[in-house]
């Protein structure tokens, strides 16, 4: 779905990512790779193959969009180093022409050096340009740009006649903040408010729809 942010053309992708058309920049939040192995190390049994979908989705998305640049808005790799890193390494090395940047999140504890060895740029807090602020968590200071962030894992509950309801992930735009849905499959949803001033774009199988 095409939308305009700060006068610039963007695409809301049903793969749960945002694309900045002018800059050929793909923006992805909260992938949480390595989560399965992190849990397993702690003695909590999640099936090993439960994360495969994430790698596959990521690969398919990169192949479809072929962006010049990719920003990961934090929580790319869940907690510290574990064996999943090798899968990540294998994936990233297929895209030598793409410029990857990670804005660190609260779950990213892997060494900066390990990322840099893979050619990723690491940014501690945020990336700011003329119109936008890209960050992991929404920034807390006053500004007059658009803050694009992750961290929240926004979702919305839709109800209709005869007491029916569903909960689905969404893009959530309110005032000068755009929240991206979490990309990873092993993530939960945080239920957002349906205030009138919020623009809500729900993610459905195969498309994004404005509420």
């Amino acid at each position: 779905m095409q939308i305009s942010l700060q006068g610039k053309p963007f695409t809301l992708l049903h793969e749960k990512a945002l694309y900045n058309n002018d800059e050929s920049l793909l923006i992805i939040a909260d992938v949480h790779l390595g989560k399965v192995n992190h849990f397993r190390k702690e003695g909590i049994s999640m099936p090993l193959n439960a994360q495969q979908g994430d790698y596959l989705n990521l690969k398919q998305l990169l192949d479809k969009v072929t962006p010049k640049k990719v920003y990961f808005l934090g929580d790319l790799f869940h907690s510290d180093y574990n064996y999943d890193w090798h899968h990540f390494e294998a994936l990233i090395s297929c895209y030598t022409d793409t410029d990857f940047t990670l804005i660190k999140g609260n779950h990213d504890f892997v060494d900066v050096e390990k990322f840099e060895r893979l050619g990723l740029h690491i940014v501690k807090d945020l990336i700011e340009d003329k119109h936008f602020i890209y960050s992991h968590a929404p920034v807390s200071y006053e500004h007059n740009k658009l803050n694009i962030s992750g961290h929240i894992h926004p979702g919305i509950s839709i109800s209709g006649r005869a007491n029916q309801s569903v909960r689905i992930p969404c893009f959530y735009l309110k005032d000068n903040l755009l929240l991206l849905p979490a990309f990873g499959t092993l993530t939960g949803l945080y239920k957002m408010d349906r205030t009138a001033s919020a623009h809500i774009y729900v993610v459905l199988p195969g498309e994004v729809k404005k509420l």
Partner: protein, 771 residues
């Protein structure tokens, strides 16, 4: 041993225990008798009773308590030197089994007494007891096990479950004494003016004031905690003189508050207490001479137990008043009397194959002295719960705790239990510590403490309730009008308010279905009306209502099944009155919806109560055609039930407890949440992941099995369908809603069922948003 309350069961067993000990010439040191109770309050009572014997006879037999409240110092003291008698709970025994060298602790144990076994049976705490006993019997093959139980429908089976399938003789001792119970239904003056639907019953408040005044002390039982809070408040408003003599008691109040009420009750300081099932059990409140049950008691055993709270002395009559909350419910007073007279008392259905509890138990043993697979397997299959567990299934559990499932990946980093020289052990202190905190099977929602600014604890409410309040908002809790000041570290700080208004908290939690014993009795009582044999006061009161039902629809004979159809602005309704309890109706409604939707695709909204259920759709429901196609067929039943959407949702809810008990999801510890957050995932995620990637996961299957046994009550559901096949179906098209269907129509709790694909459904929902 089975006898009515107040006949001296405790002493009957305790003197036997003492005799067993003192008859020996050589008395061994250490723990001799373990007495297990389901409640801390009960532990105290047993402690005082047994200690009194030791004191007055000057016996050298030390008794101690060990519950969640026991101080660290006292625990250390017990560890050094165990008393002869230990009164404790199922969870505390498992914590003892999690201590290194527990073999030594239980070396000379001779007797285990399980008190109120009927309460534990039919819960996973009962499974904890079965497992603990299997281990203790392995240490002491000559262990004597006593069970104490109130009267239930399957007493013989209860005995066998407790004892397991091992060697040894057993005996059931039953008292021939019977407790006299007198039931009086509090009736509205004019049945025509009493509401057709409702759960609260406040309209009859005037009727209970005389009962309170004419009694010494009255216990007022409500079915849920929110109802308890509301009744307490309304009673005080109606009769301000009761202030100071009226108290409130339910499971979410703090231990201090509850203890104060219990002591005041015991000492005869209170005129009345509004309570929930928290006062069902054990503790003897001699001053109580009247009991009031507000709303359907749902089961005969439960009603008798509550009645037995009054007239606790041997030979005394138990007097109970029943207050129906809507007009049709009046029939239950009459049905209850019938069921008690004919000794129709419910069975307790035990849990079987609870792999979550087994997995927890395995890790418990692994953090203390470790276990060997063959030995443990041979022990657990002697319990009723795990009798049918195959070696392959047991091996799956072993793999689950050592390899995190059946993964074969060489690079797997899973770490929990390790095998050293064939012994399964936990070596990581972190794993051991986390497991100790997780021992137990009672899973609660995320709860917040309610505290005064001064620090006094009032109790707990669910997080979602407080999250809807802002500082300054006023709500009722523990009988106080409270203002929310702030929320910090999972605690809501409050101060007393004088506004006198405010919302009442509610707690989520299962609602009990009406038991089949009661529904059978209701059918008999309706039939008596039909045959003009009605003579109970309740039945006579209901005649105008039944006449009206007959006029606008039909009053079903016992050999008939009534189906009502109606068309309102909400859509097309079909009501079916099968009188099978809300669980079976939940199952039947989704089954029928699924089968009808085979005729043409449609989405239903489902409603149900204990008497019947409703299908609602925006299209006309082809019920006649569905009947011709075999709506009541019991063939393909499991497949049809599994195909309906709801079973997944139900299983997901059951899986919440299973995930916590088996250690996948860490329990909620107020104040300690931050430390565990990075390994905290909700059970829904696990449910989804297992469904997608590990269909044969035993914990996942357990969730579905539990739904079939306890939620759908499969056995009862099949019987219901079979009965329907033999009944004559009467279909009535209603011009106006009938007294039967109105309570279901008015229910706010509804489920939905659809055979349309997910995205089609969501897209339509989105379209409806725009309208």
């Amino acid at each position: 041993m089975n006898a009515p309350t107040g006949f001296g069961k405790t002493y009957a067993i305790w003197f036997g225990v003492l005799q067993n000990y003192f008859a020996r010439k050589k008395r061994k040191a250490g723990l001799h008798c373990l007495w297990l109770t389901p409640l801390r309050a009960l532990s105290k009572e047993i402690y005082y009773s047994t200690q009194q014997v030791s004191d007055e006879l000057g016996l050298d037999y030390e008794i101690a308590m060990r519950t969640g409240d026991t101080t660290q110092k006292e625990r250390q003291r017990q560890k050094k030197k165990m008393p002869q008698g230990l009164i404790t709970t199922p969870e505390s025994v498992h914590l003892l089994l999690a201590q290194k060298g527990y073999n030594e602790t239980f070396k000379n144990l001779e007797v285990v007494v399980v008190d109120e076994w009927h309460e534990l049976l039919g819960t996973k705490r009962g499974v904890l007891i079965e497992l603990a006993l299997s281990r203790l019997k392995a240490i002491n093959p000559k262990l004597k096990v006593w069970g104490i139980s109130a009267t239930i429908g399957n007493l013989e089976e209860a005995k066998e479950i407790l004892l397991g399938t091992g060697q040894g003789k057993s005996k059931l001792i039953r008292s021939t004494l019977e407790k006299q119970i007198e039931i009086e239904t509090l009736l509205p003056d004019q049945i025509e003016k009493y509401p057709w639907a409702g759960h609260l019953g406040i309209t009859l408040l005037d009727k209970i004031l005389p009962v309170i005044h004419n009694s010494n002390t009255t216990l007022i039982f409500t079915n849920v905690r929110s109802q308890c809070e509301i009744w307490y408040q309304r009673l005080l408003e109606a009769e301000p003189e009761l202030a100071g003599q009226l108290a409130i008691h339910h499971g979410s109040l703090s231990e201090d508050v509850r203890l104060w009420v219990e002591n005041a009750l015991h000492d005869g300081l209170l005129k009345a207490v509004v309570c929930t099932s928290s006062l069902d059990l054990g503790v003897d409140f001699r001053p109580v001479d009247s009991v009031i049950q507000i709303g359907s008691p749902k089961g005969v055993a439960r009603f008798m137990q509550r009645a037995g709270r009054s007239g606790h002395q041997p030979g005394a009559v138990s007097k109970i008043f029943f207050l129906p909350t809507h007009s049709l419910e009046i029939i239950e007073g009459s049905a209850m009397r019938h069921a008690i007279a004919h000794k129709q008392i419910e069975q307790r259905v035990p849990y079987i194959r609870s792999f979550d509890v087994l997995i927890q138990f395995m890790v418990t043993l692994a953090i203390s002295d470790g276990f060997r697979a063959d030995e443990l397997y041979n022990e657990i299959i002697k319990t009723h719960c795990f009798e049918s567990v195959s070696r392959e299934e047991f091996n799956w559990c072993l793999a689950f705790i050592t390899k995190g499932g059946k993964s074969l990946d060489n690079y797997d980093e899973f770490h929990k239990v390790v095998v050293v020289d064939d012994v399964y052990r936990v070596v990581s202190r972190k794993v051991a510590m986390r497991h100790r905190l997780n021992i137990g099977v009672i899973v609660s929602d995320s709860m917040l403490h309610i505290k005064f600014l001064g620090g006094k604890r009032l109790g707990m409410v669910e997080e979602w309730f407080v999250s809807r309040l802002n500082p300054g908002d006023v709500f009722w809790f523990a009988g106080h009008n409270l203002e929310l000041i702030r929320i910090k570290d999972m605690t809501a700080f409050v101060r007393k308010s004088t506004k006198g208004k405010g919302v009442f908290p509610s707690w989520q939690g299962g609602r009990m279905p009406l038991s089949s014993q009661l529904t059978d009795a209701i059918r008999i009582k309706l039939d008596e009306y039909y045959n003009r044999k009605a003579k109970d006061i309740e039945q006579i009161k209901l005649i105008p209502l039944f006449d009206r039902q007959e006029k606008v629809s039909h009053l079903p004979h016992v050999s008939e099944l009534l189906i009502e159809k109606a068309h309102t602005k909400e859509g097309y309704h079909v009501f079916v009155f099968s009188f099978e309890g809300r669980n079976v109706h939940e199952g039947l409604s989704s089954l029928f919806a699924f089968r009808i939707a085979k005729i043409k695709p449609m989405t239903f909204s489902l409603g149900f109560n204990d008497y019947g259920f409703e299908l609602l759709s925006d299209q006309e429901i082809p019920i006649e055609q569905a009947l011709e196609n075999g709506l009541f067929n019991t063939e393909h039943l499991s497949a049809d039930i599994y195909a309906s959407v709801n079973i997944n949702e139900m299983a997901k809810r059951k899986f919440r407890d299973i995930a916590t008990i088996s250690g996948l999801v860490l329990g909620n510890y107020p104040g300690k949440q931050t430390k565990t957050r990075h390994v905290q995932a909700n059970s829904e995620l696990f449910f989804q992941v297992f469904t997608d990637y590990e269909k044969d996961n035993l914990l996942l299957q357990e969730a579905f099995d539990e739904v079939m046994t306890f939620q759908m009550e499969q056995v009862r559901l099949v019987k219901a369908l079979e009965r329907m096949q033999g009944q004559k179906v009467i279909i009535k098209q209603l011009e106006q809603l009938s007294p039967f269907c109105f309570p279901i129509f008015a229910e706010r709790f509804r489920d939905q069922l659809s055979n349309e694909p997910f995205d089609v459904r969501v897209r339509r929902l989105i379209e409806q948003q725009g309208e």
